[in-house]
Symmetry: C2
Subunit: 508 residues, 2 copies
């Protein structure tokens, strides 16, 4: 066996490890290598916050494919080549921490959150049992309880899980609502239930329909409720559609209200919706992926009044709380429901004769088997900031968006997509370049205006100076949707954005 | 506005940032803080590979809750407190890199993979569009193509996605199979389809049933096919059950064959299953979450012969290839199907008038909206090792398991759960302590034996010397399931495991 062993160890060294750990005497080489990678990252971090650097060094896909050798081959590369790849990857990455990166609901880079994510990678484990993730399982328990307290559920009771993103959290909620009403669907499938219908506003996130498609409910059974001009669900329309569905013999089982819509940042009137759900005995879910974090702010949490009456809530700390991606929680009011809905009692993973309290094994209430550790970054950031730190961060972003709104609402060349102060940090507006501004033919004007935002956006990316999102909505042509979740942004960055839009768009 | 701004900046500093970036002049403090965290991690890494340290410093949940202050409060903590929390978290973590940690299918810690995961956290972006993740989207494209080539699909054509774990990958496959046969289910729900039935072996992973429950198909519509004594699906039983289902008027739509079962490490006979699927026109999925990586080994890939005839395959590089958690791929033979199955065309995210080739925007074919970047660690490890490096690593683990098998198969006090050389690294065995070994009453013997593995396992954790999994299966009482996926393990570690089991179990 010795010869065999020696041969294997040789292969091991040559092919696998470049003499890094676990190679014998690999300590020093490993430390050097990891430190070099850390130095590359530290330089990138400092650069990311520097306004004189580009947000993006943009290249078209075919061009980027040719700018570096990205291919995989049979033969190993040297560690120097690996470091070159690390540098190239960061060179062409978007600097999502950049104070002028406004493109997504998730922006910014928190230093404590980042440190926590590095540590999570180093611990390299799975959330399914206390056995393999004792600390992380406890921290999830502590944090979910705290979040439920903030929602306003008595003594923080209830259940919940961190899931891979808001879409999956919303899908969980729909699954639980169905199970609550028709538990037999778990074994017998949808054919054992009557036709189920779900309700959500026309401004809600597409994941509600995606979930319905996956769960075998069907997108046609998701009834879109009218929203008012500010993007809020109209409760009277909800009730009308529920009654209509019942008259057709369908069974309303799920209402997903949105706290912070993707485009307008609108908050559905949760209290009125809760009344309707109670009256008709329907599961009330609140999709607060984007707006849920406003619960952390004493100044803004009134926008979610009524959330305490919901049966479940999606809340993504990776958005407005700037926790590194990804970190999404589903909170559920009823205890034990997730477990009975999802458990399959696989005895090879969830042994019932282990030495510790098995209620800490969370795996069987999940849809996933292995589950990534998403809790530590949120927990550590919470420790570093305290609740009041998150509050200050959120309040600041909202103040910046109000500043933007005040600045452009009467400015020449701008038109707001909806009237009034934004409720979240979403500020939706058109910029009308001089060449479009005075056109009298309205059809021609809209046609031209529709092309303005995409061109300005493409130019922003080519110059690399800033990034902001745009989209059409209903019959409204392309407009900018500015959002602020990056704690690095300042009033001066808002000023810059306005100037940059005008600079890049004035000739259109 | 200046006063306002000044007040905000003050809050910002005091509550949020502890003067870390993006605070003005935060560079030096940030570098120091991150370097301190790195130093804590580097020390942990070196310790993890040191056999003289414990795999785990085990404490019961209530005890662990009291060993540290894990609570979240309103007030911020100092950076020194944060560093203390980092140290405490690692102190009580499982050392999953430890050469004697055999507890899960995912073990080990690859230094290049770890560096890549740190870099991924630093880049902090999302996979949904090329716009926000240009490099990572391209690397996913390159890597999925390479994986499809290795499966044997012509020119690597097809589709795929990295998903949050094997359970979700399997659910994707089932969803695609349903969509392929009854696309109207997407809009109209399961009531528009006849009763669908899926087939998988009795030894398959519980995620197949979990997926069926979620998708509204129902667990009773998952028909469990008999496995032989080695845990392999019996093709004749599969065909019999398909015919039986058809006779009842059900529609067989999905067969999930397993390449590497969780407990026995069995490979279902894919060629025979492919023949049956072809004959009956059923989607063939291969759940290779655990065994798929053997495709990287010229010596072992024959065990998956026939996989090239599958319609889809789950393959988790985070298991046998030791990529950091998590990294799971679903590969699909047909191009375009994922997109049409899952797309909702949300124009606010997937604008159709962007300046670049939109085929690189992968978000609308996913069930998720935001999607974590899981590709970079696999890609960078592949560059560092080459295909032959992964091959050597896999071959070594299989050689170690054969060594274990040879060592215990005729050893006194051991009994193998199934005969013959293991096909994967799973070695399943009972250890019979002297007090149990010679019992004549068979019922009493089994009753006593059932309790042996849990007690030895609990002692392993209390001593912290090693960790290995156990479970019952069918009518078989608790047995050890040894698996080897940790490249740090050596022949000596296998010897140690045997000695440790005997040391800890001799008095039972």
């Amino acid at each position: 066996m010795v010869t065999n062993s020696a041969r294997l160890e040789y292969q091991f060294h040559v092919f696998l490890l470049n003499y890094l750990l676990p190679a014998l005497d690999g300590d020093a080489k490993t430390m050097n290598f990891l430190q070099e990678v850390v130095d590359i990252m530290l330089a990138y971090i400092v650069e990311s916050f520097d306004r004189s650097t580009k947000v993006i060094d943009f290249h078209y896909p075919n061009e980027l494919l040719q700018r570096n050798n990205w291919e995989l081959s049979d033969e190993p590369e040297t560690l120097d080549d690996i470091l070159i790849s690390c540098r190239a990857t960061l060179k062409y990455a978007i600097k999502t921490a950049h104070p002028r990166y406004f493109n997504q609901l998730s922006t910014g880079l928190d230093m404590v959150g980042l440190a926590a994510d590095w540590l999570t990678s180093t611990a390299n484990t799975n959330m399914f049992t206390y056995e393999v993730a004792p600390v992380f399982v406890l921290l999830e328990y502590v944090t979910l309880k705290k979040m439920r307290e903030i929602i306003g559920w008595q003594e923080g009771r209830g259940d919940g899980i961190f899931s891979p993103g808001g879409a999956i959290s919303n899908m969980y909620a729909m699954l639980l609502a169905r199970y609550k009403m028709f538990p037999e669907v778990k074994e017998k499938g949808m054919s054992s239930a009557p036709r189920l219908v779900a309700f959500t506003s026309e401004h809600s996130h597409f994941s509600i329909k995606k979930g319905a498609a996956a769960l075998g409910i069907g997108t046609e059974s998701v009834i879109c409720i009218k929203a008012d001009e500010r993007g809020k669900m109209i409760p009277s329309d909800l009730e009308r559609r529920i009654i209509e569905a019942k008259q057709k013999g369908y069974v309303p089982f799920f209402v997903s209200a949105t706290a912070g819509t993707t485009v307008y940042g609108a908050f559905d009137p949760l209290m009125a919706i809760a009344d309707i759900c109670k009256k008709h005995d329907i599961w009330m879910h609140v999709d607060g992926a984007w707006g849920g974090s406003l619960l952390m702010s004493r100044k803004h949490r009134w926008k979610l009044n009524g959330v305490e009456r919901a049966n479940s809530m999606t809340w993504n700390p990776h958005k407005m709380m700037a926790v590194p991606l990804q970190c999404s929680a589903l909170l559920v009011r009823e205890e034990g429901l997730m477990q009975s809905c999802n458990q399959m009692q696989a005895c090879y993973l969830f042994q019932q004769d282990k030495q510790y309290d098995l209620s800490y094994d969370t795996g069987d209430k999940a849809l996933q088997c292995g589950r990534h550790v998403d809790i530590f970054k949120l927990w550590l950031m919470w420790r570093a900031k305290g609740t009041i730190g998150f509050e200050a961060q959120i309040d600041k972003c909202l103040e910046l968006s109000e500043y933007l709104y005040n600045k452009i609402k009467d400015r020449e060349g701008y038109e707001m997509v909806f009237d009034g102060k934004p409720q979240h940090t979403n500020v939706c507006f058109w910029y009308l370049p001089p060449g479009v501004r005075y056109l009298e033919d309205k059809v021609e004007k809209m046609k031209r205006l529709h092309k303005v935002a995409p061109v300005i956006k493409a130019r922003m990316m080519e110059y690399g100076t800033t990034m902001v999102s745009y989209q059409p909505q209903g019959d409204k042509v392309n407009f900018f949707r500015m959002v602020i979740s990056n704690p690095a942004a300042t009033f001066e960055d808002i000023d810059f954005l306005i100037e940059e839009i005008e600079r890049l768009g004035q000739d259109l």
